[in-house]
Symmetry: C2
């Protein structure tokens, strides 16, 4: 499928008319930028993404924990933008940005731009321990989510087939590294799976025996929330059987467990929710990146020294009133729209306007009927927070079909504790799991 | 995840009481056998499958064509059998059956049985051209379906990025090999995708330009149906823009197209629906297999010379009134139940009874509002056949959640021509598609 004419994009760009805006990334920031440019006169937009789908990251942990299917939280980017007639969607990976020549180099050829909007998001970050990635998958893509689902479900299957108590215990020990929203939501879901979803489905052990450990290096979980809510969240986790360790750092992760200083935990399943960082792409702007690889942007979201390059979404490091704008969906939506409006201002020769983040609050859910919410001064937890979480996430989910299916799945889970996606998808077998996985061509 | 105590199964079997029935395979035949043995006194059952899920094969083509998500047509075997308290479900691959020692060798150790029921189904068969498999995926597992979905969606994406007309045409040429129900349903779905689902979503070409060719070696499609219905099916396919070639054989398949004798068709996407065959497992019974690797069974579905081994479902070759019992779900359901009843008869020292297949008729759907049905003497086509197909497939689908979600998805597809699962899932990149696929650890 490789393109025989690598410069086809460059050719097309040069032969079409109008100002050309290239958007890299089809997340909330990139999509919202494209939607904002939709009606602009004499403006052509090309949105490049290495995936064909927009992914609703806030529900990714539900795919990982088999509550939802992968397609339920994703929508094809070209379907979302089908009415944006001035936008071409290109499935390709951007390899390099050249701000001087004003082109992006993609796996399908060059794209020349007049204005560039970078919205590539963040990726899993292992603080220099890249070898941990194979043992402790993170949760940033559907691939990650399906891999986590595979490992969690296979761990219980392995326990059913084993006799050696030490092996059974290791198979039934799950460690989640990182106490932010993702880690808290993963751990809570694992607690529910062990206590309720899998009840009565195994013959040689009780799934409720599973040990779920949430390790947080800082003093408390959900550190971005108010301290009282962190305490509430920890209580709700413990009610689901999750052991919460705060102020402890993981010093080693291997195929059979983890180490915290001189203590070792035998655990066959370790999940990573401790760190995310930016990718190299924005490293070529001649601007010093933050320690986590994010790019500091100016007031109007452009890059210092590159007024025609805007960086938005999680990858953008924007300080406002002394605080950093958080890497959350509402901020991405606002940045995407604002950057596009600034592009339009520049096209008509007007002054760009500074970006101001309007905080919409924070939400996290901890299993069923529990959660924490912080909306401006308002703080609450438990059922109300959980219900608000459901409502907000259905609302921001893209696609009517997705909303309907997710609501149906959630209603059934609520009534019957079921998880509708407890399917282990085959993949090429590896030394690690040869014993249970057929090779891709083994067929049925 | 490999089992450190390879004989744990053998150990467990020897330490538990009761007659031990081992069932290999969690399809309709195997599941129905386990359900039939559910209430039997002093009978222990172990069902072994290399997958954790039962797969509803009749709807697999809808996963391949992005109408449904993978979990929608699958259900965890242990959930289906959770109330069969005498049944242990084991996720493992059976490597060998030893009828003399009465054990099966699995990837998780040995299983000793008193009675064995083999229901392993069929796998893709390329008539000796195994190298075709990589170029023309078949449709027997969720892995197959997701691979086909990937290739179909990537082909349109590639066309959008290409300029060379020859490349665009090859990307927009889809060949389906085999005119049975699977091939007909795949081709029909591709026709709908090109004509309706993708309409207005590309900027550089019209998806309706896509060329879909169905190649059938025999004189007509759906050869098991009445001839008049075959003609109707072909007309319905052509109405969807599918080119039907009968009486022509594919002589070569490579990465860039197919050959029929001295004619070559450049096609980037080739799908295999021409052949299925049995796997080696039943080759060790000392009975001559049929040409397509199925095992001839005696009247009571046991294997000649092995009264304690029953072979059921698609893998069983059972002749009745001069005809072969077809490899369809109703036959598998009936065989599974009957074999289990014969096991119970043998346990209480009674005579086994011969199996008689009750033909429930045949159905095939060709896109929306079209299909053919043959129920005993009754033959009809068009809307009524299509509607009956919908009803029957919802009815036989396992799991309340699955039924609900599938009905929702179908209703939306019917109203809006949408396909809710147009998501390309990442996988390790290969030389073939490096240009668009991130590596598994590329993350977000």
């Amino acid at each position: 499928m490789t393109d025989p004419t690598p410069n086809s994009q460059a050719l097309r760009a040069s032969t079409s008319s109008g100002v050309h805006v290239v958007i890299v990334g089809g997340g909330f920031a990139g999509l919202n930028a494209a939607q904002t440019l939709r009606k602009a006169k004499d403006v052509r937009v090309t949105l490049v993404d290495k995936r064909n789908h927009h992914l609703f990251q806030p529900l990714l942990y539900q795919v990982a924990t088999a509550a939802l299917g992968a397609p339920d939280i994703a929508a094809p980017i070209r379907t979302i933008l089908r009415r944006a007639r001035n936008t071409t969607v290109l499935l390709a990976e951007v390899e390099r940005v050249d701000p001087k020549r004003k082109v992006v180099h993609t796996t399908r050829g060059e794209l020349a731009w007049d204005h560039l909007i970078v919205a590539t998001g963040l990726t899993n970050f292992y603080f220099g321990h890249d070898d941990w990635a194979q043992h402790a998958p993170g949760l940033k893509s559907l691939h990650d989510a399906l891999e986590i689902r595979r490992r969690v479900l296979l761990a219980f299957e392995a326990a059913e087939a084993q006799q050696a108590p030490a092996e059974v215990n290791a198979s039934l020990t799950f460690v989640v590294v990182g106490g932010g929203p993702t880690g808290v939501e993963l751990a809570g879901a694992l607690g529910e799976i062990a206590r309720h979803t899998l009840a009565k489905q195994f013959r040689t052990f009780d799934p409720a025996r599973a040990r779920i450990i949430l390790v947080e290096g800082g003093p408390r979980v959900l550190s971005t929330f108010d301290e009282a809510l962190s305490t509430k969240a920890q209580l709700q986790l413990e009610r689901l059987g999750v052991t919460v360790w705060t102020g402890r750092r993981v010093t080693k992760i291997d195929a059979r467990g983890i180490e915290l200083g001189d203590e070792r935990i035998e655990a066959r399943t370790v999940l990573w929710a401790a760190g995310v960082a930016g990718r190299g792409l924005v490293g070529e702007m001649g601007v010093a990146l933050t320690r986590d690889g994010r790019l500091p942007v100016t007031d109007d979201l452009s890059v210092a020294g590159h007024p025609d390059v805007f960086v938005v979404g999680d990858i953008a490091h924007r300080e406002q009133d002394g605080a950093v704008v958080p890497a959350v969906a509402p901020a991405a939506l606002q940045m995407g729209r604002h950057a596009a409006e600034n592009v339009l201002r520049r096209i008509r020769g007007a002054q760009t306007s500074p970006f101001h983040y309007r905080d919409k609050g924070m939400l996290a859910t901890i299993g069923r009927k529990a959660g924490v919410a912080q909306l401006g001064g308002l703080k609450f937890s438990g059922f109300l927070a959980w219900f608000l979480w459901l409502f907000v996430h259905i609302f921001f989910l893209i696609g009517f079909r997705n909303r309907l299916v997710v609501m149906v799945s959630w209603a059934l889970s609520y009534l019957f504790w079921t998880r509708g996606a407890r399917v282990i998808l085959e993949r090429p077998s590896t030394a690690e799991d040869e014993s249970v996985e057929p090779s891709p061509h083994a067929g049925e």
